[in-house]
Amino acid sequence: MTTEHLPEHPDFLWRNPDPKKSYDAVIVGGGGHGLATAYYLAKNHGMTNIAILEKGWLAGGNMARNTTIIRSNYLWDESAAIYEHALKLWEILPEELEYDFLFSQRGVMNLAHTLGDVRESVRRVGANKLNGVDAEWLDPQQVKELCPILNINDNIRYPVMGATYQPRAGIAKHDHVAWAFARKCDELGVDIIQNCEVTGFVKDGNKVVGVKTNRGTINTEKVGLCAAGHSSVLAEMAGFRLPIQSHPLQALVSELHEPVHPTVVMSNHVHVYVSQAHKGELVMGAGVDSYNGYGQRGSFHVIEHQMAAAVELFPIFARAHVLRTWGGIVDTTLDASPIVGTTPVENMFVNCGWGTGGFKGTPAAGLTFAHTIATGEPHKLNKPFALERFETGALIDEHGAAAVAH
């Protein structure tokens, strides 16, 4: 076949510009968080002379590798506030971005398998209600009614003892979310520059004034880091440290199946989380690999463990075939909460540490990080998530609600 027989390429959703000599702000990282940050910088703060630098292709890192789950049922006030704000933004974004990215509020269940799980879950439901987050406690029978394919029998190693349920939670098509943001960013004048790797920073004293890249040096007044698993590498280039450890996190999909799974089921204890994508694949996430890694792949026994848990909970999956598995690099913190705020370097800001749960936070990360970059001060929602909390001790321990053990 020659190219003559191919149809016209559809319209591109964004330009592919060369970098300019200077920008008012540069965002490093063209994933969901970088795109959302640029979008809100342009929309809410009128900063349109800005660029997103992406070392690979747009949204090809964790934005392409996550399991697309969106929920806000976190324990502490600070987390509930920022994740619930994110959820409220998810609810209006398809219209605002004029792009139906298949946001489906099919609910999320977090299963409890031990008495400890039950106590933690019931406590979290109570905390969620006080924070205006929709949450219910379900007994095993109610779990079965909502998700008939779940095995609630006592004959498994960790029987289902109940679940928390957030009806407004759900999934969205991750690639389309990125493209929706990218198209709007482009319309607002933001330069999205792909294949542009940051190799260093230009500083005047302790102030950042430029970004060195493989496509030349770009002058800028402000820099926002949105590089997830590579945040430590960039921070080191800029001359400061982050309390981040990068780990591989794996996921997999099955072949396409008829719709069998009506909601999203997560289990912290036996460690699997499952939904069924619109096309029909079963999408399953695993736990993090224990070792530090930048390889975008992990060890097979982690996948094996996750599949064992999935098949015990969902016996009908036993004959489903794995289509592919993959890994991303997640940036974990010691308290399982993100870092969004200022850095020891003047005019440089950091958004990282979202670890295993960055996708759901995308709109709120973008909104609050844009506010921080534009004004130099944190938004009230990200103020508790400052880097300084590791010195003051005001940690926000979300290991219980983060759902992926690390």
Partner: protein
């Protein structure tokens, strides 16, 4: 899965081991004298190296001994294993600008599954 060359038991599957994070982090000599910043550094800040990384492993279902390992965090290649308390084997070379690491316990090419 990594195939880890335990210095006491030989090559074993990663599932027999427990990861211990960055090696060579000493407990502060006078913790009470540290500033909040220094204490935070000790508690929460660890290197997150992309490349050769010295880390601790415990052979928890084998000899139950801790040891140090030099592993590349991008390729996952295991470059050396060495006893706890011994200096990192590639450090002196870094100082002289040589890139090839000297290994105290050479690992055969099949030492790591990639």
């Amino acid at each position: 899965m990594l195939l880890i060359p335990c210095p006491n038991c030989g090559p074993r599957d990663e599932t027999e081991f427990h990861y211990g994070g960055q090696a060579h982090v000493a407990y502060p000599e006078n913790p009470a004298e540290l500033t909040d910043r220094e204490w935070a550094e000790y508690l929460f800040y660890r290197d997150n190296t992309k490349g050769a990384f010295a880390e601790r492993w415990l052979h928890s279902t084998g000899c139950r001994q801790w040891f140090n390992m030099l592993r590349d965090t991008v390729t996952y290649d295991i470059q050396a294993v060495y006893p706890m308390g011994q200096p990192r084997p590639d450090k002196e070379n870094t100082a002289t600008g040589t890139t090839a690491p000297t290994v105290t316990t050479p690992v055969s090419p099949e030492g790591a599954i990639k």
